[in-house]
């Protein structure tokens, strides 16, 4: 039987300081640097779940609503939501904190997917991911729908085969 592991065992928190080289000429954090941090924190979560080296398989839509300033403290939290044979979906929340004013806002949310590989780089199975809290169960259930959207967008699934996804487009109504 496949090994099981609680999703909360994969939880990782990372804190970063926005430095001059991370910003554009308006002193705002560049989106690419944020993506870079998201990739590292979520790769570590997937590594903790699988005890394997992992490679990024896909990044879901990310939107940037808040501008983040030089000197801000960035907190990134990542946790595996669900595992599918050798792949794992990781959910990431990002907060940005302006220390002098004491304000902290949620700036981003994202889903990254990783594949666990062995020393030769071949995919290898990972433990099942077991959600426990209400929030974890909700993310676990949504993972199937997000996976179908990923496969369609990568041209590897036909839209009319995406049963899970249909619900959000009210396809049968």
């Amino acid at each position: 039987m496949r090994k099981q592991r609680s999703v909360k065992d994969s939880y990782v928190r990372m804190t970063e300081l926005v430095l001059p080289n991370d910003t554009n000429t308006l002193n705002n954090l560049m989106g690419g640097k944020m993506m870079h941090w998201m990739d590292i924190v979520s790769a570590i979560a997937a590594q903790k779940h699988s005890n394997r080296i992992v490679v990024t398989a896909s990044v879901d839509n990310v939107s940037f609503k808040e501008s983040i300033k030089l000197g801000n403290v960035i907190t990134l939290e990542a946790q595996v939501t669900r595992a599918f044979s050798s792949s794992m979906e990781v959910h990431i929340n990002v907060w940005s904190e302006d220390i002098p004013s004491g304000t902290k806002v949620k700036s981003n949310e994202a889903f990254f997917t990783f594949v666990a590989v062995d020393q030769s780089g071949n995919p290898i199975d990972v433990p099942e991911a077991i959600p426990e809290s209400e929030e974890e169960i909700k993310l676990y259930e949504g993972a199937l729908r997000r996976r179908q959207l990923r496969l369609i967008l990568a041209g590897r699934m036909k839209p009319h085969d995406a049963n899970e996804l249909k619900s959000i487009f009210d396809l049968d109504n």
Copy 2:
């Protein structure tokens, strides 16, 4: 009348070498570094179209199919596909080249969206983007559909209002 500018004027090509710090312990390029490069090349394309400072507004789904090795030469090409008042969608193609073997493969394709801002960081209108070649026209037309998907995924549009998007899900069949 709004200024017009040919999309091909925004074309940017960037070349990068995969260095040790860009790789994981299997000597494969980390996904986050690739996203970082994609953000820089596409931000430059959006800057060239608008002659403005730009900020990343969103990143569409990106999938990573090929593993890219230490020492590979990465070529990124970016071009604006369409402009919407202050925002611009940019299309990015990425190739990875292994010099000793002379093999070159297309490794990624992505869409990033940017907003042009003035010196105070407020959104400001950009020129209309005029497609010319067949490929450019196809990307221009698809931009509306991708934009609706972005708005739905960001929770800012209801799926049943996404007329353009419905077509890919064969909603009316």
Copy 3:
């Protein structure tokens, strides 16, 4: 009356991945890189306690027992232990995790001291730091003794005036 703040409000956790450029030719993390991370995580803790920009005032003895390998995941936890007018002592614990083998060891422990400054760089008072747990109270009480050792080592206090410190050397026995 001076403002008070619970020490646990300053808690920060930071996670880092050991990359090639952080290591020596045996693939071990260099001590200076670890000190750099310790400084960042503890500066953020001091900033959270004081809502001020902070500058490093001193670093206490740090010893490196474990060698840390390329690819390891480093977790640093920092929390203010005590505040003295404009300065704050921060306690840092560091763990190193080897993902494939699933082993995690405590690799370092350190005390950094920071001074809060205003926009002109002049020292400015910070809230009192209130310990609550048994561990926090123990660290709070030890802070006085460590401070005397720091002042002696910096040549700013005569050893025989260090009443708190005398106890560890059993000076009166």
Copy 4:
């Protein structure tokens, strides 16, 4: 008989420019970056003395008195003070220079300890370090006392066994 080597053969001088990413939002050099440079310059001194790869074993108390500005030229000088079987203590002096005003101040002084290792990472004996000048002899003699303090602070020596150290606390007077 153990090989001998003059301490001055290990002398290293390093010069660095304070760049934007090395500074906080007040444009002052961050303490962690300074520790990083100190580690590199002193590791090179220990390598020159031992002709071996070395690993950082401990860092003694460092205090930061002067704030160092963006654009300053930093000069670090390191020299082995004494060797103990496989370990070496290195003394570091740091100066900060503001070029336009032509002012140069001593900003830091520190002691780092390194262990020489063979290709498998095991400790290996190093040559004896022979002091010559008055200053070198003074540093050589103080090394024993600093070593006892290090062992006590690391919990590896009982304070009442620290005969050398007792003198600075006037324990027998």
Copy 5:
């Protein structure tokens, strides 16, 4: 017979953004960073021509006429001009673009020379480089003269043996 390859097959274009750490305290790009980029782009051109790892053999005189500002977009174009057994000369043109004002100026021009090496680091022959356009032929012909100047400056050729070079100094008039 020696393999032949069109010089234009080695063409590489690289785009870089001037970031804070690349600039001095007047916010101008430092010359050393520009040389670093020139080396990378021209090494890639030489790698493309030879399908080999290459090492920098020499850099010809480079002059810096324009000051380049923080935030500017730098475009570097490199192409092999001529090959000599295992070495290749590469010509580099650099443009600097100020996006908000829409101005683009040619800022530098340079010649770097590389040697192709095998896996043990020994020089190995490369294909002949065939120029086609008028500009390429001119660069191809000048390569001999520049090579003699390089050999003289490196003390490996006597000035009176430099037949090609003599022409620019009107030696026989």
Copy 6:
């Protein structure tokens, strides 16, 4: 009368460690990184001579004879050779040391030229540079010849006007 300053007051020594990201896939230092270090050390020498911010004006031919390995210790020494109104020529010597084998070889020699500028970036006069030792006098005298070659190569002087330079080509014999 113009201020005078001994050339030896501008002497700077810098030490660097070759890290993974500085090397190509054969673990050899990339030439561009070396040029970057040369630019920093020589800019500091020119700053010390002039007490001004300086900008790189030109780099003379540099040849790379020795391959430098990962982990090597690089020592760069720079000193102003001669000043011309607002510009200064700096001579740089580079040594590469392999610590385990204890071998140290001279790997490069170069001349960089800098212009001193005021806060608005305009050229400003610098003190005269006074050579003292035999070696310094030889470098001082050669500076005129190297300057003519630079002007010719930059197309700003006609070869037959380069009286100083003619001697090395035995033009009148």
